[in-house]
């Protein structure tokens, strides 16, 4: 399989064998490879703030011996002066070998990829896609459970607006898994996703009560109720505390349930769960480095 020169934009661009290959390379990237991307430069163009995505991309590039340049706030870039994304990319592609772009504008990564002659990786484009998060989630599930096939996976929180849930569910639908969508009716998984998953043979269940299904789950993927996605602040106030998982959850789960969260959390998971063997969200964030190392190496044709 050859990923050299490929852009990483959307979950829709991957086949199952693409995903399996990326997971395989990510596993190899757990080893130190300090010279693999020697002489290569990554441009991180972050038009909105982000902590994990930017830091883990930078960490990945440094750990492979590459260098990083870029900006993490559009106020310090010429975009503030009115420069277009197109022109910014045309400039950055001459300074670097690979670009990561993050922007609140949906579709900007796809557009950047069309502008650039070098590979572009989407670091999140508004409410649309965040493929590297999806890949690290998938990698974390496979790493912790040693398989994906046959798992019962629960998604809890804001399933209506949560892009990570949408992308992960689509990626997981390449395997035979069972999905449980746990949310208040108003924040439930959009019907067109349920339909699409159903057409792919995925058994989907919807509930608003986490305890009704928690005993069945192998993975519980928790998401934040995202204030910024709510058109009406009063609506947000109504749902922000809909779920708060704490140590009492342990009486209602299988022994080997693993709890994931894309982070940041704002109270959905109480810190008293952090030290239990069920919590793997920090490990999940750490896996972001291996997965991003894999992607950088792959699109630069240097994975071997």
């Amino acid at each position: 399989m050859n990923f050299k020169g490929r852009d990483i934009i959307s979950v829709r661009d991957f086949s199952k064998s693409d995903l399996l290959y990326i997971l395989k390379i990510a596993k190899e990237m757990e080893k130190e490879k300090p010279k693999l991307l020697d002489g290569k430069i990554l441009a991180t163009l972050f038009f909105e703030p982000s902590t994990r995505t930017r830091l883990s991309f930078e960490s990945a590039m440094f750990r492979l011996g590459g260098k990083v340049l870029g900006f993490s706030d559009e106020k310090v870039s010429s975009v503030k002066k009115g420069e277009t994304v197109w022109d910014t990319i045309k400039m950055a592609e001459r300074y670097s070998d690979v670009i990561v772009i993050r922007s609140p504008v949906e579709g900007s990564a796809r557009f950047a990829a069309e502008a650039a002659s070098i590979p572009v990786i989407n670091g999140g484009d508004g409410a649309n896609q965040h493929p590297t998060q999806m890949l690290l989630d998938l990698y974390t599930i496979q790493k912790t459970k040693k398989k994906i096939e046959g798992l019962k996976i629960g998604f809890l929180g804001d399933l209506k607006y949560g892009r990570t849930v949408h992308s992960l569910a689509i990626a997981l639908s390449f395997w035979k898994v069972e999905m449980y969508f746990i949310a208040p009716d108003e924040l439930q998984m959009p019907e067109h996703y349920i339909k699409e998953l159903g057409e792919k043979g995925i058994k989907c269940h919807k509930t608003s009560d986490v305890f009704e299904v928690s005993q069945k789950l192998d993975i519980l993927y928790v998401t934040r109720i995202q204030q910024e996605r709510f058109p009406d602040p009063l609506e947000y106030e109504k749902y922000k505390n809909a779920y708060r998982l704490d140590i009492t959850l342990l009486d209602h789960i299988k022994k080997d349930l693993k709890i994931m969260h894309p982070l940041p959390r704002v109270g959905e998971i109480s810190p008293d769960l952090d030290d239990t063997e069920h919590a793997i969200y920090f490990e999940q964030a750490a896996n972001g480095v291996a997965v991003r190392k894999a992607l950088l190496a792959l699109v630069l044709g240097k994975e071997k």
Partner: protein, 151 residues
Amino acid sequence: MKERRIPAIKDGTVIDHIPSRETFRIIRILNPQEFKYPINVALNLDSKKMGNKGMIKIDKRFLTKDEVNKIAILAPNATVSIIKNYKVIEKIQVKLPEELVGVLNCTNPVCISSKEVVTSKFKVLREEPLEVKCHYCERVYEKDEVEIKRK
């Protein structure tokens, strides 16, 4: 003899088998204000196939491929006939392409295509009922939601 609701044209285009409710939307996307010769429109005509239908006859004007594609978005079963000297010289069954380039506007206010100079691109997911997806923001639109470019 069959009664003719709209007069025959000598040279021009006849668009037939339009769902009645889409007839005016089709007229609008063809920019009729720029046509110099008569346009005849009929709605609620009897049709064996469709129950009722709309028809448009345009004098001395032949539609471009782009215009025919636009018609296919709203009326996938329409037929476009090119008339010369009162005779049908070509009958085109409209056909939706797999991708609509530069034909629709994405109405998502946070889509890149509404912020920079971008040729819009939509993938046709389903023809009937219509469902299209913006190539950039990946938002899915149904027939009543699509906004067709006037130019």
